[in-house]
Amino acid sequence: MPLHAYLVLAALVFVIGLFGVLTRRNAVGILLGIELMLNAVNINLVAFSRFRADLAGLIFTLFTIAITVAEVAVGLAIVIVIFRVRRTIEADHLDLLRG
């Protein structure tokens, strides 16, 4: 398969993730969307690494995965705390910063 097939896949996954982030009302859903966007990036990195025979992309990907794990851990922890305090994780209701 040529490179652009991977890139199209990555773009699709990224846009699906962005759509999820923008439209989901549930905080966990938003986190899932972010996860998708990050994985789209990973696909890009791996694809370029493969086609350009450059290992740097693979190493970046390893870092990204590690960071993503940490991000999800922190994100879910925040969601749990928010739920304990506000009894909801609906993003619409979390508007303390409204001007």
């Binding site: 923008l22 938003i30 993003a91 508007d95 303390l96 001007g99």
Partner: protein, 611 residues
């Protein structure tokens, strides 16, 4: 090393200053009152003895040599810009003796007069007194215009502080401010004049200026304007028309202060300054003529106001204005020696009059002469002292006022100023009249029914007696010495006749009852009307103040309220509106922010593609 007059002069200056510093800086001393008074009186006594020793020793240099001892004050590249020092000549020494003597006597008198004051106030009073003595002596000993100006302002400050001594009385506080502002009006001219003189000649010092003036080598553009401006300072300080209005109000201060500052010393500073700078004034005859006319007019105007005044201190204040007019007229007529002679004799007997008036007020508990009477029978010594001073002021032989007044009149006549001469003659008649009006009303006639007659305190009485003896001695010395006044032989007889005519009129009106005061007033109805209203000068000043200053303030207030504040209010309202509008962008919804980010990235991409 032999101690010369300049060193003694410095000591004279240092003693009151040290006393001021001690009282001013050492708080317990000031708060206790009496010890502060003792320090101040001792320092003044020392200064008086030193001044006496200085004048005993005589002038340090021969006539025609520089009598000034100078130190550089403002060093500059081309020689010092200004110097400080002492100028010790006959006039300065005589003035030093007068100032220290009257200061000493007044401070002793105040010891009793202000006995009921709370101690902290008394300490404050003596701190001011010491500062005043220092400033006045510094003014007298000034060897240049700049130093004179500095001390000139210092005495003005002391005058303000002492008039407002009872600052919780609104009238005293107002009088203090009025005195300060009106004299400042003249001082503006003074400072402008000396700066212009400096820019023309490059020096503030008297000696080079006098040398150049006498050698005819003083070439300054607009010297007439300069000397007129310098004279303005004297107009304010020496209460000449039209700036005389502050002096009667200054009587709100304690009576000893009036005796010292507003009769004997500070108000004569203007006369002294003109007499001191006479070599310069001599170059501008037009200003001299103006000085003589204004002086004579002031003398006459103030005398008419004194005739209708009921307050004994104000009568004396107007009489001071009137006598200052005499001195200035002599200055203007080219007889500064006569002016200075009248200044010294007037200083002694006017101080005596004020201090005597203090006892009178103490006795009757009122300032109104119509509610007094018969004091002579009860207090012959007080009455005698007051009478001596009154006769001296009226110019009766052989009291010092007679000789000095004659010298002034002779000087004015010699300068062919006939109208001012006639005004001064009329003034001498009025002087005798209004002073004997006070004497007959307060010391003779019927004593008002009175519950208590406090004995005058010993110190006050002793000071008055000492001054009375001094007045007599001065007069007798002048009478014994073959005084040779340049003037026609008829002059003494004329002035004596006028004086006695004034006394006779006062006697007929207020003592014998031959003349009804109301009818006398009706005979001079227009003058009486104007004099009772002080020639509307206070109203004119008040009106001008209200019209100009308050009008301007109102305009400025309007601009401030509606223009300056308006712009500020518009700005702040705009900022609030804009902030309120912008606030609504912040929804608090993270997803909206993500929309923003996505949109931003999209725009960046489009921009990158287009660019």
């Amino acid at each position: 090393m032999r101690i010369g007059s300049p060193e003694l002069a410095l000591l004279v200056l240092a003693l009151p200053f040290a006393s001021f510093l001690a009282i001013g800086l050492i708080r317990p001393l000031r708060r206790r009152g009496r010890p502060a008074a003792a320090v101040s009186i001792l320092a003044m006594a020392g200064a008086f003895l030193t001044a006496g020793a200085m004048s005993w020793q005589g002038i340090p240099v021969a006539r025609g040599l520089n009598p000034a001892v100078l130190w550089t004050w403002l060093p500059a590249d081309g020689g010092p810009m200004a110097s400080v020092g002492v100028w010790v000549d006959g006039m300065a020494m005589q003035m030093c003796v007068l100032v220290t003597l009257v200061s000493l006597l007044v401070q002793v008198y105040s010891w009793s007069y202000l006995a009921d004051e709370p101690p902290p106030s008394l300490g404050r009073y003596y701190a001011y007194q010491s500062l005043f003595a220092f400033s006045m002596l510094g003014l007298v000993l000034s060897p240049g215009f700049l130093q004179m100006f500095v001390f000139w302002e210092l005495v003005g400050l002391c005058s303000y502080l002492l008039i407002g001594y009872w600052y919780d009385r609104p009238s005293a506080a107002q009088a203090a401010v009025k005195a300060f502002w009106i004299t400042k009006l003249g001082d503006l001219g003074f400072v402008a004049g000396i700066v212009m003189l400096w820019s023309g000649t490059g020096t503030f010092d008297f000696w080079p200026l006098f040398q150049a003036a006498e050698g005819g080598a003083l070439h300054v553009d607009g010297l007439t304007t300069i000397m007129f401006l310098i004279y303005l300072g004297a107009v304010g300080k020496s209460a000449q028309f039209p700036l005389h209005v502050w002096l009667p109000d200054a009587m709100e201060g304690p009576t000893p202060v009036s005796a010292l500052i507003h009769a004997a010393t500070m108000v004569t500073a203007g006369v002294y300054m003109v007499a001191r700078a006479y070599p310069l004034f001599a170059l501008v005859p037009s200003v001299l003529t103006l000085i003589a006319w204004v002086g004579a007019f002031t003398a006459l105007l103030a005398a008419t106001m004194a005739c209708v005044e009921r307050d004994i201190k104000r009568v004396l204040a107007y009489s001071t204005v009137s006598q200052l007019g005499y001195m200035m007229a002599a200055n203007g007529a080219g007889a500064p020696e006569a002016a200075f002679q009248h200044l010294t004799t007037h200083g002694v007997f006017k101080a005596l009059l004020f201090l005597g008036a203090g006892i009178v007020i103490h006795h009757f508990h009122t300032n109104d002469v119509f509610r007094m009477g018969g004091l002579f029978g009860q207090r012959p010594w007080v009455g005698g002292s007051f009478l001596v001073a009154t006769l001296a002021l009226a110019g009766v032989w052989p009291l010092p006022g007679f000789f000095s007044k004659e010298a002034v009149l002779a000087g004015v006549l010699h300068a062919h100023l006939s109208v001012p001469f006639l005004m001064l003659l009329a003034t001498s008649f009025l002087t005798a009249f209004y002073m004997f009006r006070v004497v007959f009303l307060a010391f003779f006639g019927h004593a008002p029914v009175h519950h208590e007659h406090p004995e005058p305190p010993v110190a006050m009485d002793a000071v008055c007696r000492a001054l009375a003896v001094l007045t007599l001695a001065l007069g007798l010395r002048a009478a014994v010495a073959s005084h040779h006044v340049e003037g026609p032989a008829w002059l003494p007889w004329i002035s004596l006749t006028w004086a006695f005519a004034g006394i006779a009129l006062a006697w007929a009106t207020y003592q014998a009852g031959r003349l009804d005061p109301a009818r006398l007033a009706a005979a001079f109805a227009p003058i009486d009307f104007l004099a009772r209203r002080r020639y509307f000068l206070d109203d004119i000043y008040g009106g001008t103040y209200r019209l100009l200053l308050l009008g301007l303030s109102r305009v400025v207030g309007w601009v401030d309220r509606y223009v300056v504040d308006g712009v500020l209010n518009a700005l702040s309202a705009g900022a609030l509106r804009a902030g309120d509008a912008l606030r609504r962008i912040q929804t608090g919804q993270p997803q909206d922010y993500v929309y923003g980010v996505a949109l931003g990235v999209l725009l960046l991409l489009v921009w990158a593609q287009l660019g």
